[in-house]
């Protein structure tokens, strides 16, 4: 333990061997998955980008006036029109003959629900924009209200478990199928638990001409009710159980998955989170909903053929192994 830092931290910070798109000092909660996802996305996207950001946690915690945590051109749009703002910026840059890439950032509310029609239009018109959805599965900024992305049976302030329901009654919206129906060149899902995979997908999307879409599963310690230290573990379990399939699509067709070497039971994932606490009560309804969520995971595994055949280099076990001296694969 050395209390006295040997390094001048300001100099060291300036010399980090990666692009710092999202700087320290932002006001995200401890262990915020979305802050990590945004940091990883921007460091992979590189400096020559402009960002349109929908209203939401990300916008609020990064830009408390008069400060900004962003180190790239960034504009705050209203909740519903991020994709439209990004499309306009893309058209303007194209008109000026500039190669700067356009990113659109939104939460799941700004993607699945409120921002959806602008997103659909942007994709339909084929703007060269990467739309990134930071999926934390509820309206966290306003105090954890259920969204179209909230998984079935999760507790939010507007889907409380009780006499009539075991948390959210409806299913999580299958946004990927809707995106697929737009036949855009590239769409993918990623998770903060697999940073190399995430960065690879950002770079790939940036290299793609036309609209691309990336959904990043980003745990929210406050809204999901888990220890902030376990953000990565929760995200990893979502992938390893099959509840959050990590896949890639081109023109709406599945082209790749992150195979699951040994699927874990969904209860491993659910029991870490308060929002699923009611599923572990000793009553028939709880057992039934647990089985229901397991069935959803099984269906994902079946549908996307997520089950690996033996150990692979880039499956859920191999994709993030560590090596002495860093040296991640992406």
């Amino acid at each position: 333990m050395n209390e006295q830092p040997l390094h001048d931290l300001d100099t060291l910070r300036a010399r980090q061997p990666r692009f710092r798109g999202l700087e320290s000092g932002h006001r995200a909660c401890q262990g915020c998955g979305e802050a990590l996802a945004a940091r990883l996305t921007t460091e992979a996207a590189g400096p020559d980008v402009v960002v349109a950001n929908a209203t939401g946690c990300l916008e609020v915690f990064t830009t408390p006036w008069p400060q900004s945590a962003w180190r790239l051109p960034w504009i705050h749009s209203v909740f519903g029109n991020t994709a439209a703002v990004a499309a306009g910026m893309e058209a303007a840059l194209k008109q000026q003959g500039r190669a700067t890439q356009v990113l659109a950032f939104a939460g799941d509310g700004g993607t699945f629900d409120i921002g959806f029609q602008a997103l659909s239009g942007m994709m339909e018109r084929g703007h060269d924009v990467l739309f990134v959805c930071f999926d934390n599965e509820a309206y966290m900024n306003t105090g954890v209200q259920r969204s179209g992305s909230t998984p079935h049976a999760a507790m939010t302030t507007t889907s409380p478990p009780g006499e009539l329901r075991m948390g959210k009654r409806h299913m999580k919206k299958d946004i990927l199928s809707i995106i697929a129906a737009h036949h855009i060149p590239y769409a993918a899902t990623a998770s903060v638990a697999y940073p190399s995979d995430l960065r690879k997908k950002v770079r790939r999307a940036m290299d793609t001409e036309g609209a691309s879409f990336l959904q990043i599963h980003s745990p929210c310690p406050l809204g999901w009710g888990h220890d902030g230290a376990k953000t990565i573990e929760v995200a990893r379990l979502a992938v390893q159980t099959g509840l959050f399939p990590v896949i890639e699509m081109e023109r709406g067709e599945l082209i790749g998955t992150l195979p699951i070497r040994e699927p874990r039971p969904v209860s491993d994932y659910l029991k870490l989170q308060n929002r699923f606490r009611h599923l572990f009560a000793s009553e028939y309804r709880a057992r039934k909903e647990l089985e229901h969520l397991q069935a959803i995971a099984n269906r994902n595994i079946e549908r996307f053929e997520l089950r690996g055949v033996g150990p692979e280099t880039y499956d859920t076990e191999g994709a993030d192994t560590v090596h002495r001296g860093g040296d991640r694969w992406a």
């Binding site: 401890q30 802050a35 990590l36 008069p66 220890d227 002495r324 001296g325």
Partner: protein, 563 residues
Amino acid sequence: MIQIPPGAFARPGTSLEFKTGTWRAERPVHQRRAAPCHSACPAGEDAQAYLAKVEMGDMRGAWETVVAANPLPAITGRVCHHPCESACNRAHYDESITIHGVERFLGDEALRQGWSYPVPIPSADAPRMAVVGSGPAGLAAAYHLLRGGCRVTLIEAMPAAGGTVRTAIPHYRLPPDVLEQELDHMLALPGLDFRLRTQLGRDVSLEELRTDHEAVFLGPGRRKGREWSADFAVPGNLRTGLQLLEAWVAGGTLPEQPRSVAIVGGGNTAVDLARVLRREGVEQVHLISHQRVPAPGVPADDAMRATYREVSQALEEGVTIHEHRGVRRLILRGERVVGMELVHMKKLEDADGRLRRVAFEGTETVLHVDQVIPAIGQDVDGSGFESLVRRGYMEVEPWWGTVDGQSGIFSGGDARSDHGTVSEAVGDGRRAAAAMLRYRAGKQLEPGAPPEPIPYSDLNLSYFETAPASKEPVLPPEQRLGLEEIEGGLQANAVRHEAHRCLSCGDCLACDNCWTLCPDQSVLKTREVAADGSHYVFDYDFCKGCGICAHECPTGYIRMIPE
């Protein structure tokens, strides 16, 4: 030019003005913790540290890390029963690292390449220390005193160095050329005055040594065979196990060629001798032991003192072991043994909770053998220091080896009642040398203990993949006839594979996990190694104390401590 009204924009990166570190309730700190292999090593080697160096391709640095604790890795890599591997955290994951294979490889490589020990040349007026006995304990003590800048007088009663390592370890376990090379390598160190055929009490007295030296280390080993008789009958041709073993190791032959032999005892001497007799063509070799064959799950006080590996190889070679048996009486014809009466025995707790041996009446059996060899252990031969030996042992403080009631005299190795392996002797010598240096400097000796190891549960195994351990080639039992070494050692590629498998328990492996996964950009990467030995520093101005870095650290090197 469009003017943006203030209030609608902010300058990039200005959030750095706001120190989110004030939110923190716990802070992450780098804390190197001992790997279980390190805590378990009787010699005090830090296997994790040298495996890291091997992985980085620095073989010489790895060897230097080994010899910072143990000057004889080529020897211990072969003969040690490697408790490090039993303790290895990877055993819970798939298989332990083959640490002894790496140690042996490094020892051999140093001899092949002629790497010199990192030991300074002592000055002319350096303090003088005396070491009695050039077995592993004495050699380790002398070596660490030299490392500490002393001049050392090392006396040995025998005509050659090595002690038990030379006289009682069969060549199939430790080839003589390896022994000679490593001993010569160490004994050539500057500042070492090595005197062979010099016996304490005969050629020099303990008082003389104490007068001429600042402190004395006694490493006499145990060489005096214990008195043995069964029912007061002693066969005319009685020889102790150690005598026979030493005769065989020195000359390669045995004085007699019986057809069947019973060895009484369950220690390494008994087992080594049993295997030697099998090699010499004795058809039936019986081992009579009060204890059981050691195996995982057998409590230590009910297991034979011989190591598991030796016993299992002896069984492979056709030695019969009679567990929980005692000798009730010998059947003699004249002065010659023709058989013996055995009885079932067990240690049971008596009313005071002490273990007592109980022989069960009515369980007697007769075993016909041509010869009986007691190998029930030896006592310290206290010539020259008779007053310090109690009940056949030296009584010493367990960590520093100070001898009760004697100032400036230290001891360790087999001379202790509780130690009987080469690596324990090396550890005793090392700690006693440290104690002698402190004694000279007039410093107090704080009570010592091995470092607390990091538990398996403190690692994050999500970042590793299973991989089978490299196994060294082992000679099949039917080919183990001569002196050929049984275990073949690891090749360089297998050694690197093992180093790569190491989980690096409790030590940073610079994997970038903390740097990659911090949501607050509060882990900064350094180009050169930071003051605490890692490649990262925490920026406490911004760290919110979420604990992701600690939770996701694969090696348990980061801990959260309350502010």
